[in-house]
């Protein structure tokens, strides 16, 4: 029984992390129509910015996380403004631009920090225990921050003028522009918001897992999987799908092993997509 409960706790932790990653990924697709292949790169970059802020500049961890968010958001916004913006409707070009950015980020991290994992640990230590059940405090902190970030993003998108403007651009860009929405200003902000979320996740999660220049590789796969399952562009879908992915991964790995766990995850997604080809919350045609 304790394995069942432990797997549930692990599933929630995984789901929250995946949700934060998937939200940024789906936000960019939903608003700009761009599939951001550099998403994993921003995750790894966020981790390294936080690591450098702590180890080289002596910043406290919360400020290091903030620095990671600012750097990744700023880089994302600038990249969108000066490169992606020019070709935003050319799917092939934006795919190559984001893929290229990922290679630049991961190779740059490799050149600057080397290939070996540095010592970068979460400042909160200790584990909550109840019998055989356990929950590392660091996971609890990450869970709380993820929940707050998801809630904050929801409020931003659905309860502010900025969010309404973004949703208007996502629904019908031409009509939104006639109403005074400015894609040249809003698209970089949306892109920066999404990459900042990836940077936040990297800064929070890499100290409790491991940091390396290739840390973004599996992140891209997981984000893609989650967002496709939830429905490309759907914020609610990304959160629900992330929780499903987290639970399936945890329970399948605990009860069937690491190899079968990965297989079960992909089979589950495949079955859901057979029933709902647009994903759980996806629409037939993206608005923008």
């Amino acid at each position: 029984m304790h394995e069942f409960l432990t797997a549930g706790i692990i599933g929630i932790s995984l789901g929250a992390q995946y949700a934060l990653l998937a939200l940024g990924f789906t936000l960019i697709f939903g608003i700009l129509g761009v599939i951001n292949f550099a998403h994993g790169g921003f995750y790894a970059l966020g981790g390294y910015v936080a690591y450098a802020a702590v180890s080289q500049f002596g910043l406290p961890f919360p400020l290091a996380v903030l620095a990671a968010v600012i750097v990744t958001a700023a880089l994302g916004a600038l990249y969108e403004r000066f490169l992606i913006e020019r070709l935003v409707d050319d799917h092939l070009a934006t795919m190559m631009l984001t893929l290229g950015l990922y290679l630049v980020i991961s190779t740059g991290l490799l050149a600057v920090f080397g290939p070996q994992s540095p010592e970068f640990s979460f400042p909160v230590k200790g584990t909550l225990r109840a019998g055989t059940l356990y929950l590392p405090l660091e996971n609890l902190v990450v869970l709380a921050v993820c929940a707050a970030a998801i809630g904050g993003l929801w409020l931003l998108i659905y309860r502010t003028d900025f969010g309404r403007a973004l949703r208007a651009l996502a629904d019908d860009r031409k009509v939104a522009m006639t109403q005074g929405m400015r894609p040249g200003l809003l698209f970089p902000l949306a892109f920066g918001l999404a990459t900042g979320l990836a940077g936040l996740t990297g800064a929070l999660v890499t100290p409790i897992l491991a940091l390396s220049p290739s840390a973004g590789d599996p992140v891209l796969v997981t984000s893609f999987l989650t967002v496709i399952l939830g429905g490309l562009g759907s914020i609610a879908g990304a959160v629900v799908a992330a929780i499903i992915v987290g639970f399936v991964e945890a329970y399948a790995s605990v009860y069937l092993g690491g190899s079968a766990g990965a297989l079960i995850l992909f089979v589950t997604v495949l079955v859901i997509l057979l029933a709902r080809p647009t994903g759980l919350f996806g629409r037939e045609i993206r608005g923008a």
Partner: protein, 394 residues
């Protein structure tokens, strides 16, 4: 008229020049390109960079002596590297890439998937490859140009398990490794060695690229093992497994009968106090001053810090022997003659010591270097160092 008069003069100058440069006993210069094939990025990067460092050091040593004497040529040695990302397809592509640049000799790769991917391609190009992996079919009679650097756990796991059993008294162990050939070929052998020593062993495999091992750790601990062996999991993965095992409340010893990477494991795990009780295989006796002198030589010749991973000290032996075999064979192009010369070379390295050629009984071909190795132990958070274990010549 003037033009006609110049031609015989120019011809004479050219002829004289040729006579001086290609006459009997004269030496010409050449360049031998050595390929370094292995993971230079990702969780297994430590192993690939150690291999690359060894190839660079062996080349620098040869060049510092004025180059290799190959027949009547004096050849400088250069190293070209290729990042396989620890994959079979990366290794196969790497061999093609290196061959297209004129490489005839490859140091590496380091892992079983890579070796499996590289072997058919090096055979097609007739390249000589000095590989190191724990694959059960790392070498064989069908690949006569493939040599093997270090024996697998079938050769060295038994003494380590015996000493660990005496120290920690474990009666059961869970062996965890990636689910590809790089993991299964070593984990199955480790498990068998544990069983031969009366220790109950279970095997657990995970998908390479797993980032969070909490579910695997929960599954591992369900069988309540006394010890966990991380086998050939990359050092980054192993460090995270250790950290999550300790968070889950596991207090038993953790073993590593696989490729070394203790420093990175300690770093990722969160320190030696987290690791606490640990036993591991070292490819060479790492505390022998003569072995450590290899790193001093690296700093002196290459003017930079050597790679962190202790695998470099073993790779140096293979790289040096390959260059010696090229000199002895007197050719830098005929890999079959170099292979024949390599088989005849005595296994004796000025730093690592004396060993032997092995492999006939396990692989069916005597092309495996067996050298003294080490066993390290951390007990109650205190590093007891690495003890030397000799191999018996065959």
């Amino acid at each position: 008229m003037v033009r006609i008069a110049k031609r015989p003069l120019a011809a004479c100058v050219v002829a004289l020049g040729l006579a001086f440069t290609t006459g009997a006993g004269a030496q010409t210069s050449c360049e031998i390109k050595i390929g370094a094939l292995g993971p230079m990025s990702g969780p297994a990067a430590q192993w690939g960079l150690a291999m690359l460092g060894a190839a660079e050091l062996a080349a620098a040593e040869a060049n510092a002596r004025g180059g290799l004497q190959v027949g009547n040529q004096r050849c400088t040695v250069s190293v070209l590297s290729y990042d396989t990302r620890y994959t079979a397809e990366g290794a196969a592509a790497g061999v093609n890439n290196l061959a297209s640049q004129g490489v005839r000799f490859i140091i590496g790769p380091v892992g079983s998937p890579e070796v499996t991917g590289a072997k058919p391609v090096v055979t097609r190009h007739r390249l000589l490859m000095f590989a190191n992996s724990y694959a059960k079919n790392a070498i064989g009679p069908q690949w006569p140009l493939v040599f093997h650097l270090g024996p697998g756990p079938s050769e060295w796991a038994a003494p380590i398990v015996r000493i660990a059993q005496q120290q920690f008294g474990m009666r059961s162990v869970a062996v965890v490794a990636p689910n590809d050939q790089g993991g299964t070929d070593i984990a199955t052998v480790n498990a068998e060695v544990y069983r031969r020593h009366g220790i109950t062993a279970t095997e657990e495999y995970y998908q390479r690229g797993t980032t969070n091992f909490a579910p695997i750790v929960t599954r591992l601990l369900a069988s309540r093992p006394d010890a966990v062996d991380t086998a050939s999991s990359p050092p980054g993965d192993a460090g995270l497994i250790v950290r999550q095992l300790r968070q889950a409340g596991f207090t038993g010893p953790i073993g590593r009968l696989g490729g070394p990477g203790t420093d990175e494991i300690i770093r990722v795990a969160g320190g030696i106090d987290v690791l606490r009780n640990f036993y591991w295989y070292e490819v060479v006796p790492t505390e022998d001053p003569r072995v450590r002198a290899i790193s001093d030589e690296y700093r002196r010749l290459l003017n930079k810090e050597p790679p962190e991973n202790t695998n470099m000290w073993l790779w140096v032996v293979g790289a040096r022997m390959t260059l010696r075999a090229i000199e002895r064979a007197g050719t830098a192009t005929d890999t079959q003659r170099v292979a024949a010369a390599l088989r005849e070379l005595p296994v004796e390295d000025p730093n690592v010591g004396r060993g032997s050629w092995t492999g006939q009984s396990f692989f069916g071909i005597n092309q495996e270097l067996s050298l003294p190795f080490g066993m390290g132990m951390i007990v109650d958070g205190r590093n007891l160092g690495v003890r030397r274990i000799e191999v018996s010549p065959q």
